[in-house]
Subunit: 336 residues, 2 copies
């Protein structure tokens, strides 16, 4: 499970809690703060929890930064973290900061819930549909962006992508990672989700496997479609399957929710997610795509041979305003 | 306050939470794990809370350790942390581990409480007595122990202390830091404590000042006695007031509770703490000493000129079995 659930001594309540911290991966300290907070909250959202009673911030300040840089960078990072917490309806009331060779940023999210406030991630049934609420490819986008300044690396991919496309993909990845999965968590209740997890370090397939393994029923998850930030699959292929993006094991940071929904609810879930999509991080959603189905099986997940790649254009680009999500009839058809 | 207290949406309950992490300061990884856990729990105990619903462990593994050392050291540290959590009546159900240049160990303690389970640290009244539940001097002891192998440093203190005394003081400091303040937290309710805090990085005077500043009544804390691990005041003096131990600002790790008790309860509190004192870390207590009084004043704390130094012998030493705590008539007299 993404969070721990502790039965309390009081009136059927449970304490649900999660922690996560990591090292910065984008250059913008404010956005990095937002991403770190979104990433911590995501473990609650994966259980359909939309509230958070308290957030603690965990920080380490790099001893290698000079004082001027420290005073410029750290308040921005803290500010981003706080703003994302506020969007999550909570606030940062405590935490701890230490000096360390590297910067670390993370937090602890806690909420006390009644039983109807969370959805245990073990109720998938054959016939369910799998939905993903953020595109894949954040790690490829972050790396490709670093290669803009490394001619040797850049030469490997310059035939398949332009510098402008890499910059746009990086922006899209950053906004996507900073977007809270809170909207998706709310819609999990509205559309009776059976189970969910969030996609992070183990990649889509890794987390799909973990989720499949926890199911009460003997089910398997079959993934047909891979929504990926535009051009990232081309970059991955050009580099000989960089990070195994198309095999589903490329690490994501603060990725989307992978949700098991009743077949008759999935398209409505996607359509409502799409209508709430936001411009640039924070509240709202990054969209949602139907990516596969739940069958009877041995509690594992797999991606079919030659999955359909859904190229997700950067928000703000003209292409983003066309309906190219898997809620279109075409994508639904490909699964049935 | 040592912990954050978050009113919950459910039935008058509060979420009380605290986090702390730091770098190892003793050589024994198992004891280091115990100390880290005791240190986190201490913030709850300072509020008279004796239960903990959940503990998360935060760890970073040093990238500079080779695999063999890592496999030897980390399980011991985790084991010590878990054992201390178990003694605190809780268990470690989650957390996060990262790779880092330095080892970090810490945790997050959370509990959901009814209002009568915690004591807000703001009710001191003139006439109260101040009690401290662990001796001071842990930092001096840890440093002096490192000096055993540094002839230049050792020469500074060899006239006032023997190597054996330093080793005993280091053991005492280690056991004391690993002792949970849980017994003291329980006795705070039994003896109607008015306020408390735990003594850590700011030293006795720093934390006494913080506690005084939060009081509802206009009070001042006057400290007359300093219980200090045997020989540590001599070392501090020999080094020109090392760490300002006698000024009350030497940092402590996982120090005792500083408790404001009604005058008629303080001696009973100390006597019960003493009777529960333990051999070597963990449950029980390190003792308790009356160290001062609460007067009308400007919400500050001070140490009198020439405070009485109470030399606290290492547990296990013959001297430890004599009643030399401030519960003796002599010590009480010196305050009245």
């Amino acid at each position: 499970m993404d969070s721990c659930v502790i039965p309390l001594r009081h009136g059927g309540l449970s304490l649900v809690q999660t922690t996560d911290f990591f090292y910065p991966l984008v250059e913008d300290p404010y956005m990095m703060g937002r991403i770190a907070c979104a990433n911590v909250l995501s473990d609650l959202y994966a259980m359909g929890i939309t509230e958070c009673d308290n957030m603690l911030m965990l920080l380490s300040v790099s001893q290698k930064m000079n004082e001027k840089d420290r005073e410029r960078v750290m308040p921005l990072m803290i500010g981003g973290f706080r703003d994302a917490a506020e969007e999550g309806g909570t606030s940062v009331t405590g935490g701890q900061t230490v000096i360390n060779p590297w910067i670390i940023v993370g937090g602890v999210a806690s909420v006390v819930c009644q039983p109807n406030e969370f959805i245990m991630p073990d109720g998938a049934v054959p016939g369910d549909v799998l939905v993903l609420t953020k595109p894949l490819g954040t790690r490829v986008a972050v790396n490709a962006h670093q290669w803009l300044d490394q001619p040797e690396k850049w030469n490997k991919i310059k035939l398949v992508v332009t510098k402008e496309e890499v910059r746009e993909a990086y922006q899209e990845a950053m906004f996507s990672m900073a977007t809270l999965n809170r909207t998706a968590a709310g819609l999990m209740h509205k559309f009776q989700a059976h189970a969910a997890t969030d996609v992070t370090g183990f990649g889509l397939l890794g987390h799909a496997n973990n989720l499949a393994a926890q199911q009460r029923n003997e089910v398997a998850f079959i993934i047909h479609n891979l929504p990926i930030i535009a051009k990232m699959s081309a970059i991955s292929k050009a580099c000989g399957n960089l990070f195994n993006l198309l095999q589903g094991t490329s690490a994501e940071t603060s990725g989307g929710l992978l949700v098991c929904l009743p077949r008759e609810q999935a398209a409505k879930f996607c359509s409502e997610m799409k209508s709430l999509s936001c411009g640039a991080g924070g509240q709202g959603s990054s969209g949602a795509w139907i990516i596969g189905i739940v069958e009877k099986g041995d509690r594992r997940a797999r991606i079919i041979d030659k999955p359909r790649i859904i190229e997700v254009p950067p928000r703000g680009s003209p292409a983003a305003h066309q309906d190219n999500s898997a809620t279109s009839p075409d994508a639904n058809t490909s699964l049935s």
